[in-house]
Assembly symmetry: C2
Homo-oligomer: 490 residues x 2
């Protein structure tokens, strides 16, 4: 493995790609737009899934599974949904291949589907068509269901994890008897996401609402969490939608209330995807490679022996095997890398690139002195530490690293929320500093659209509990009652 990657200042985009590939997280596949998630990348996703899944269950949700395919006609049933999702998608038209007699495999034109099937870009339609059969009375509500699945959106310009034709995600779809309950649910899940991204991924987020332009197709309200990457661009890390009765009406899902009256059901949906891995990479990593927060690191501590000959190795291995037991007892994911096919320097570079939070080296001198060398990935500092009570030291160190990564990202983020009071200042800040720009906006989709066209910046969100402030729109000069957060975004 080449240890060199492009630096962030040279080419941020290339730096990102280099890390994804050289840290063995993912690679492009032979199928346009689809990625292969390699074991190291998938192990991070599994950690994310485990935490999120526990959070979903603690908030009363169950998992289920709905079909990969959605009949084409379903997309016509919810008017705004069709434009948002049914355009760029994978369409299944046939159900058989055949040998043409010359050794070529061709599509069998006799096996054409009566109605084309779309590979799900999101599952509201097929799920609400199913819920129709599950809901009769208020006793059947709420339905609190989540699905872990793959989805496909035919993206022309793809980037590993950030934007791929196929990606993995979870999508929660809930059904409620009242509007209040559905809004409460969509807000609850937004906070679950924020909790996860801040306390596990160590990435601070702004919680807010989307403007009408940026809302999910079919939603009355889209809540979102927005994170800031090191290049000053924002990244939407999760969304939670209050769907009103739109899908219930589209699929005719009614329930009998306690009062005996028939009413349409209220809906929410919410999702996060493998895109979070992209956010994780871009929030913390450096010019030496990936940096993973300890709470999501598949390997939290790696131990590398430095030795000449089997006698030295045996002494070190004997010490390490005891240490490994103590670390595992503390719930620390540890790996002892005693491969004899690679030299220590190669291993150091490999684990640095792969973002393992703590690396321990043990050599002959260490064994004599009762010490080890501890290297932190986040600060790239090394320290000699006594072997006694090392497991307690490491446990605290991992917590410290987790906190340090969050604090660092928070300081960066907070120093990149800048007010702008004129359009000139706004454009200058965007070009020279990036980050979130807090500015007055007249509240119209037209103004937002014009700003987007002229500057590539969008309203990332209207923060929850946004303070009221009298002002004028930076573009139109019309009156405004609050600032909103603009940014260029992934």
């Amino acid at each position: 493995m080449s240890k060199e990657i492009t630096s962030r200042v040279t080419d941020y985009s290339q730096w990102y790609n280099d890390i994804v590939v050289k840290a063995d997280l993912a690679e492009h596949s032979a199928v346009r737009g689809c990625m292969v998630i390699k074991p190291h990348g998938y192990a991070i996703w599994e950690k994310m899934q485990a935490v999120l899944d526990r959070m979903f269950k603690e908030t009363g949700h169950s998992n289920a599974y709905f079909p990969l395919f959605i009949p084409k006609s379903y997309f016509s049933k919810e008017a705004s949904h069709v434009d948002g999702f049914a355009t760029e998608c994978a369409v299944v038209t046939h159900y058989r291949l055949k040998n043409d007699g010359n050794g070529n495999i061709v599509v069998d034109e006799n096996a054409k589907l009566e109605e084309e099937l779309v590979v799900r870009p999101t599952s509201e339609t097929i799920i609400w068509n199913t819920y129709k059969g599950w809901i009769e009375s208020y006793r059947d509500l709420p339905i609190l269901v989540n699905q872990w699945a793959n989805v496909v959106r035919w993206e022309m310009r793809t980037r590993l994890f950030l934007r791929t034709a196929e990606f993995l995600w979870q999508e929660g779809h809930t059904a409620h008897a009242t509007q209040e309950e559905a809004i409460e649910e969509s807000e609850r899940m937004l906070h679950v996401y924020a909790d996860f991204v801040e306390n596990w991924m160590a990435v601070p987020v702004v919680r807010g609402r989307k403007s009408a332009n940026e809302r999910f197709a079919g939603a009355l309200e889209t809540y979102c969490i927005e994170a800031l990457m090191q290049d000053g661009k924002a990244l939407q890390a999760g969304t939670s939608h209050f769907l009103g009765q739109n899908f219930a009406k589209a699929f005719d899902v009614k329930f009998t209330g306690r009062d005996g009256k028939l009413e349409y059901v209220w809906a929410t949906s919410w999702g996060v995807s493998t895109r979070l891995i992209g956010a994780l990479i871009m929030a913390h990593s450096d010019d030496s490679g990936l940096v993973i927060p300890p709470k999501l690191a598949p390997i939290q501590v790696v131990i590398v022996p430095i030795y000449k000959g089997t006698e030295e190795l045996d002494a070190i291995s004997s010490f390490v095997s005891e240490l490994v037991v103590k670390l595992k007892a503390k719930g620390i994911a540890v790996k002892y890398d005693d491969r004899d096919t690679q030299r220590p320097g190669f291993k150091f570079a490999e684990y640095e690139m792969k973002g393992v939070p703590v690396r321990i080296a043990v050599g002959k001198r260490d064994m004599e002195n009762g010490t080890v060398e501890v290297a932190r990935r986040d600060t790239k500092t090394k320290l000699t530490v006594g072997q006694d009570g090392l497991e307690i030291y490491l446990q605290q160190l991992l917590e410290e690293i987790q906190q340090n990564l969050f604090d660092r990202a928070l300081a960066f983020r907070d120093s990149h929320i800048t007010p702008a009071n004129s359009y000139e200042e706004f454009k200058q800040l965007l070009d020279e500093k990036g980050g979130f720009i807090s500015a007055h906006w007249d509240g119209t989709p037209e103004t937002e659209q014009r700003i987007k066209e002229e500057t590539k910046a969008t309203i990332r969100c209207i923060p929850l509990d946004n303070p009221r402030e009298e002002g004028v729109c930076i573009l139109t000069g019309k009156p405004s009652t609050q600032r909103v957060l603009f940014a260029r975004a992934y």
Copy 2:
């Protein structure tokens, strides 16, 4: 919910469908051949996944994720594979829908793919095309990777869990430097599957090899575990394939050995699917509904209060909340159902239908006597048990139920392995008794094929460590050196 299901003797097939639907496990979706796995069914699958995933990791495997789509041409690369998998499949031909101007959503003929994509029926081809980039030297081997995924095979006649167009599964794909190591791997994973099915699902299996006719398309050897259902039909519960160098040759995957020579890589693949849920249902359930072995039950113990008025309920709930803490501390999944919208009798019927292993009822009289009523799902027996030390009693009871289910299934299976020494006897046994029939066979695909056509029975497997025995083929009278197991199968 209607409490009535068809009995097994009346219509076994309908009994199975009734259980799947009335126990809320799954249902047919609006998309032909695709099922919706409902929360109760999915919870069983999650339990299965968790155990299997741990077993895979303990045997050194990591998870990864490969694309859903496979270029059509890949199927031509492995000669036998194309016939086995590329015929009945979902073919993506376009990547866009559009509004035709009259409000109809139609396929955009300007967005036709240059090469059609097949929704993966199994992933050997795309994975070996990927492995080509991962493998250069013996140092890169072995690769021990598993994928949890959805796959699609266009089945015309589908049955929930047993045979559906889309299903969920795991597929392990490993790459090795030597033939011996690859064979060892495929055998190891067969034993992992057998361990899981016997010790978690409580279903006894026969471990064996497939005959050439029944081998996986592209395999040199297919190992399998075969289980017996209550109607005397066999069900293949898992397969593990030694693929030789077929896929390495098809995708040109070579490695440099320690001796510096280039050689093709050796391969295995192995999988189990949501079909296992079908096996679980058919092995243990009865005319009252589903029976789930305790180790895979999402709810192991359900507690139902029997009360009049809030005072009685409060006293019961106070006792139950302490019991719940004690049960959870023992790792027992417990649910207290104090819904006031349903009567106890309704709840009893619901949990019986859903297969909860142990049901506890507590009423006023119980509270006075310091007892509870414990009902076992497997034997349908009820017992009054003291409240003191109840958690220890229940822990033992769950173990006893697990063992009882296995013993019962084993006794049934063992009483349904019958030798046949003539074709007449063979056919008579098939029609009158079913089960596995142990018979001599001349070893030719032609004979197996003729028996299949005439009797619908196939060779389920040639058991591992099969004893040698001189005999003559039941069909042709030609000499044979061992008996093999025939059965009609799912």
